[in-house]
């Protein structure tokens, strides 16, 4: 592949991930060595992105008379709707519920919203579990000493978990 330049069609297929894994890897390697093909690939990428954004932005415009009629009906319904919700019997409980929901949402979400992170140990544990599922030579009865989901345990892992992480931990697993 490195001595043979791919056709534009194949580059387009590569952009859209339509090639087999072997062909895909071969083109990836070729682009690393061939500036000419790399440039063509980059151009195809830009073209694809432009087409996608154009498609997303594309919309059909309704005749202005129809739009005016639609908006007029929406506004009349909104007015009726707000009158209904502004009745004290409805408005007071709704306001209280919204305030409570906002309070608890801020309490529970603010740390995570500020610093969303995933524990590295979570990745190790899930990978280890996947190994048990997928490796035919794994001892499937071996436990996955995992505690990342349970916050109580996560902050307080057991000595066994610590020891297992320090040692192999998966018996005949790997």
């Amino acid at each position: 592949m490195t001595s043979q330049h791919p056709s534009t069609d194949r580059i387009v297929d590569y952009v859209h991930r339509e090639l087999s894994p072997t062909e895909d890897a071969a083109l990836f390697a070729h682009f690393a060595e061939c500036l000419h093909c790399r440039a063509e690939y980059d151009a195809e990428l830009r073209l694809t992105a432009a087409l996608q954004s154009a498609a997303a932005a594309e919309s059909l415009d309704l005749p202005s008379a129809v739009k005016a009629e639609v908006w007029s009906r929406i506004r009349s319904r909104e007015a009726r709707g707000w009158n209904f919700f502004l009745r004290p019997l409805i408005a007071v409980p709704v306001a209280v519920a919204v305030a409570l929901a906002a309070f608890f949402a801020v309490q529970t979400n603010s740390p995570m919203m500020a610093h969303p992170m995933v524990g590295a140990q979570y990745y190790f544990d899930v990978h280890s579990a996947a190994t048990r599922q997928e490796n035919p030579l794994t001892d499937r009865s071996a436990p996955v000493l995992n505690v990342t989901e349970a916050s109580e345990v996560s902050s307080n892992p057991s000595p066994l978990v610590d020891a297992a992480r320090a040692a192999a931990g998966d018996d005949l697993g790997r």
């Binding site: 991930r17 894994p21 895909d24 890897a25 083109l27 990836f28 390697a29 990428l45 995570m112 969303p116 992170m117 995933v118 524990g119 590295a120 979570y122 990745y123 190790f124 544990d125 899930v126 990978h127 280890s128 579990a129 996947a130 048990r132 599922q133 997928e134 490796n135 035919p136 030579l137 001892d139 499937r140 009865s141 071996a142 436990p143 996955v144 000493l145 995992n146 505690v147 990342t148 989901e149 349970a150 109580e152 345990v153 307080n156 057991s158 000595p159 066994l160 978990v161 610590d162 020891a163 297992a164 992480r165 040692a167 192999a168 931990g169 998966d170 018996d171 005949l172 697993g173 790997r174």
Partner: protein, 353 residues
């Protein structure tokens, strides 16, 4: 006269024939098709052995890092097909703790904190996937029968798994000749160094295991804590990636023999994370990605900075497993596997649109 000449020629021929031939270089063992087939059958049998045989024993696990080693010792009771208890006796910090595994559920008895951590892992409910993965292993690794050996007083056959692309031995297992149970296993790094060793120090086959050993009801004063629920991995990669909710990127390069096996999506603390699993039958690589901007939190570990393909990345090692994390195009990536860092970097650098 003629007969004397014939006699001389015959003597000379005998003399030449009796001269030993120059020693041939010692070739790498190439199994005959029948020997390779026998090794494959042995492997296949050892995968199913725990479903058939029950035993009591003691098992030692050692893992070698770059500068040292660590080990665990456990007594093990296994009742076929799927009930196992491991009672840890070393290191001291884990002494007395035990784990009961019944089917897909593990109950970790933390005797120091009087609690039980219940973990679900839907392991291997799929025999089809198991068969596929075994086929992948055989496609990439040549099983080579070695000399017989003794492990825990049992006659064992040895099988090495040699990578067909690199010619390197990745794993060696000792299989009980009678029961086909794996009695020992070693994995190797690319330079030949031993990475892990698991070995029965003692084993006794028996069907008379007291059922009370597998009891999971909490002792008095114990609390039950729910551990992680591992999701079932799907082999429908397209369906899973399309439901990720973001533009998924995958690697353009994988080491020889690797292919994608499965995928799943999890929502950890509201962070929707796609998990792609790649394997060559023995070695596994997991690629995690999310569009929530949620980077890897290394906690008390000390990650090392590195740079590839214009990305500032970090990696941390846990025994033979390495985690490499970076960000690109609004996605946060974590690549985890028992591969060399250079291989992980090559895979990571190829994660591109």
């Amino acid at each position: 006269m003629i007969s004397a000449v014939r006699l001389s020629i015959a003597v000379l021929a005998l003399a030449i024939a009796s001269v030993p031939a120059p020693a041939a270089p010692n070739p790498a063992p190439t199994p005959t098709p029948s020997a390779e087939r026998a090794a494959q059958d042995m492997l296949r049998a050892c995968i199913d052995a725990p479903k058939i045989v029950s035993y009591i024993g003691e098992i030692q696990t050692t893992r070698w890092g770059p500068n040292g080693a660590s080990a665990m010792l456990a007594r093990i009771e296994h009742e076929a097909p799927d009930r196992t208890r491991r009672l840890y006796v070393a290191p001291e910090s884990a002494y007395g703790d035990y784990v009961v595994t019944i089917g897909t559920t593990s109950y970790e008895f933390d005797t120091k904190r009087n609690r039980i951590v219940e973990t679900q892992n839907p392991v291997l409910s799929s025999q089809v996937a198991l068969n596929d993965n075994f086929a992948l292993l055989i496609a990439n690794y040549r099983p080579v029968l070695g000399p017989n050996d003794m492990v825990a007083g049992r006659q064992a056959a040895t099988v090495s798994l040699v990578n067909k692309f690199t010619g390197l031995r990745a794993m060696r297992i000792w299989i009980d000749r009678q029961t086909k149970l794996i009695l020992a296993k070693e994995t190797y790094r690319p330079n030949g160094a031993v990475a892990t060793r698991v070995r029965f120090d003692d084993i006794r086959y028996t069907n008379e295991i007291p059922p009370g050993l597998f009891a999971t009801s909490p002792p008095s004063g114990y609390t039950i804590v729910l551990g992680y629920r591992f999701s079932t991995l799907s082999t429908d990669i397209d369906k899973t990636t399309h439901s990720a909710g973001f533009e998924v990127l995958g690697p353009r390069f994988l080491p020889d023999g690797f292919s994608i096996l499965s995928a799943d999506i999890s929502d950890l603390n509201g962070i929707r994370t796609l998990h792609l699993v790649y394997s060559d039958g023995i070695r596994m690589v997991s690629l995690f990605e999310n569009a929530s901007g949620a980077a890897a939190d290394f906690g008390s570990a000390r990650p090392v900075g590195t740079r590839f393909a214009n990305h500032d990345a970090q990696y941390v090692k846990q025994g033979p497993t390495t985690l490499l994390a970076w960000r690109d195009r609004g996605l946060s990536f974590a690549l985890v596997g028992d591969l060399d860092l250079s291989e992980l970097v090559a895979i990571g650098a190829s994660v591109a649109p």
